[in-house]
């Protein structure tokens, strides 16, 4: 009897992973430069501010941050899964279609313009980065479509070229900016989970969850799409529609993640591969589990970033890159057996 994924076994695995995520989130919320007593926290908020500091630290500061890290991790890992499938490239990450440079350009524009307004509780940097990311992906999509038939290769090339071009623009802007502006931009670019106000967090959470559920809806078609367009059409998949839906949703949740936390690298590359090695390549399973594990991974990484040099904090992108870099090299070695030009 052939064993293939059933809805029941998937549901059980998702629940197990959610339990792991919950445990990681609780543990990480309790860790930090300031010791927090669980007993005091459970006593509830004090009557006046400052009466129960433990409660305020945990519920007011750490929990939102842990939730934010989980959301960003989930969004990046899901987007990574989707881009690797649609582009049929195991080395694709959520930023490959220009989101990183677009967001970066948006961010530095916001810093240079000195805008101070806030939008849905988000900073101008976040808003500019979101718009920059979305516009850039759209541009890459248009270029990729316009250049001919073999769209997937062209899309990748367009992404690389646009990324390179915008990076040059970012460098130009950085070179003419004041040093404090440069510092703000670079710190943002490195990826940072910082406290956000509840309304910004709520809106982003809703968008990321909705996007991930939407992607789950196309996940079985991603299996087929990863075989190539001809094969996919032969198996009854409307390839153009599936590509557009998958890429648009992936770009959307990545842009939101980027606007929340800057450029957190490696999560979108490392987590899908890790999950794929353990659970196999079936996207109906790979997508939800990568999302949950991605969340847990970033919560843990952010906690490390908070406590390693406490009371100072590292950008979380440094931690994910330090953990993810070696992993990426292992992957490269593993896949290079198939990619002849790497030999």
């Amino acid at each position: 009897m052939a064993q293939v994924l059933t809805a029941r076994s998937l549901a059980i695995r998702i629940l197990l992973c959610l339990a792991v995520l919950a445990v990681v989130m609780c543990l990480c919320a309790l860790m930090g430069s300031q010791k927090v007593s669980l007993k005091k926290v459970l006593a509830g908020p004090g009557k006046s501010p400052g009466e129960n500091i433990d409660y305020e630290i945990l519920v007011g500061i750490r929990l939102p941050r842990v939730v934010l890290a989980a959301l960003v991790g989930a969004a990046l890992a899901s987007a990574g899964v989707v881009l690797q499938a649609v582009l049929r490239n195991p080395l694709a990450d959520p930023y490959i279609l220009g989101i990183s440079s677009g967001a970066g350009l948006g961010a530095i524009t916001a810093v240079l313009s000195g805008a101070t307004w806030s939008f849905w509780g988000g900073s101008p940097i976040a808003a500019f980065a979101f718009v920059g990311a979305i516009v850039t992906v759209w541009l890459v999509w248009l270029i990729g479509r316009a250049t001919g038939k073999s769209q997937i290769t062209n899309l990748l090339l367009a992404g690389v070229v646009v990324n390179a071009f915008l990076s040059a623009v970012i460098m130009f802007l950085t070179s003419i900016a004041r040093s404090d502006q440069v510092h703000a931009t670079i710190f943002w670019l490195m990826g940072n989970i910082t406290e956000k106000n509840p309304s910004a967090l709520g809106v982003s959470a809703g968008c990321i969850l909705a996007g991930t559920v939407g992607l789950f809806g196309v996940s079985h078609r991603l299996n087929i799409l990863s075989l190539g367009e001809q094969e996919a059409k032969g198996l009854g998949v409307d390839t153009a529609k599936t590509q557009i839906v998958a890429l648009a949703l992936a770009a959307f949740i990545t842009a939101i993640a980027v606007s929340l936390s800057g450029l957190v690298g490696f999560v979108g590359l490392v987590v899908p591969h890790g999950v794929r090695l353990v659970a196999g390549p079936d996207h109906r399973q790979l997508l939800p589990i990568s999302a949950i594990i991605g969340g847990a991974f970033l919560v843990a990484a952010d906690t490390l970033a908070r406590i390693i040099v406490a009371p100072a904090q590292l950008p979380v992108g440094v931690i994910t890159a330090i953990a993810g870099g070696p992993f990426f090299l292992v992957l490269l070695a593993r896949y290079s057996r198939k990619i002849s030009w790497l030999k």
């Binding site: 009897m1 052939a2 064993q3 293939v4 994924l5 059933t6 809805a7 499938a85 049929r88 490239n89 195991p90 789950f216 809806g217 996940s219 079985h220 078609r221 299996n223 087929i224 990863s226 075989l227 190539g228 001809q230 094969e231 059409k233 032969g234 198996l235 009854g236 998949v237 409307d238 794929r276 196999g280 390549p281 079936d282 109906r284």
Partner: protein, 284 residues
């Protein structure tokens, strides 16, 4: 018997190239095994891509099961036609069972989970192709012959009336070539499937197929016959013993052949410049 595939006056050319297929018409009856043969570049794969709806003809029409091919959605067409292309390996490490169950995609609901019927179809296909034994192995780790059987299993699990195959035996040794053709013949005889297979092996084609479509690669002038001479046909269709003659093969493929007989069937061995005995020896 009614025709399940009707090709009428179909022409096709790629952009910036001369027409590769010109005014091709033929019918395929339900439950027949049609082989498509012809030299490289004659348009065999192009014709297959037209038949599975991947390409649209410039002129003429293709009907599948009496309805125009354009009237089918991708999904509906995939319930009628299964395609086995030349061998490829997926980017990700899917297992054999996973690859074969993908055949059920055209029948699945929104979230793509298969029901009892789907699993039965998959298991039957795995049994029929003798691939159940390695159903849990990654496709990547199989040999070429095993992989091709898996793709045939997938086509069977797709449960379609028509199977289209593009050179299903091109990388296989003799034993596996025969094995694949046996599988296809069994699907035709036992399940009543209509099979259209491109092949370079005219001997296998002659043995297994009911009809052969020979694309000659000759391009008739668009205006019809000139100076009273008949244009050579761009394709021939009929029983293998009528279509395949030494003269015809030499003309179409541009190579001399040695001809022998096995029972009533002719077989052909191509002869190059350095062929032993210059092809003069004869065996009966």
């Amino acid at each position: 018997m009614s025709s399940i595939i009707e090709v009428k006056n179909v022409s096709f050319g790629y952009v910036c190239q001369s027409r590769i297929l010109q005014d091709v018409s033929f019918d395929v009856k339900v439950g027949t095994f049609l082989s498509i043969a012809g030299p490289n570049g004659a348009g065999k794969t192009t014709l297959l891509n037209l038949l599975c709806g991947l390409l649209r003809p410039e002129a003429g029409s293709i009907r599948i099961d009496a309805a125009r091919i354009e009237s089918y959605s991708v999904r509906k067409l995939a319930q009628k036609i299964a395609v086995v292309r030349q061998e490829f390996v997926p980017v990700f490490d899917f297992t054999v069972a996973e690859v074969v169950s993908m055949a059920r995609t055209p029948y699945l609901g929104t979230f793509g989970f298969d029901g009892k019927m789907d699993r039965e179809a998959v298991n039957q296909a795995l049994e029929a192709t003798d691939t159940a034994q390695f159903s849990m192995r990654p496709l990547r780790n199989l040999s070429g012959g095993e992989r091709q059987r898996v793709f045939i299993a997938r086509a069977l699990a797709q449960n379609t009336a028509i199977m289209l195959l593009d050179e299903p035996t091109s990388f296989l040794d003799l034993k596996h070539q025969v094995h694949i053709y046996d599988l296809l013949k069994a699907a035709q005889l036992e399940k009543g499937k209509t099979i259209v297979a491109i092949t370079h092996d005219i001997n296998l084609a002659a043995q297994y197929c009911d009809e052969i479509l020979l694309l000659t690669g000759r391009k008739p002038a668009a205006q019809g016959p000139k100076n009273g001479t008949e244009n050579p046909p761009s394709y021939l269709i009929g029983k293998a013993k009528d279509i395949l003659s030494p003269a015809q093969i030499e003309e179409v493929f541009g190579v001399k052949v040695f001809t022998g007989k096995v029972g009533k069937e002719n077989f052909f061995i191509p002869l190059g410049r350095f062929a032993k005995d210059g092809g003069q020896a004869s065996i009966s």
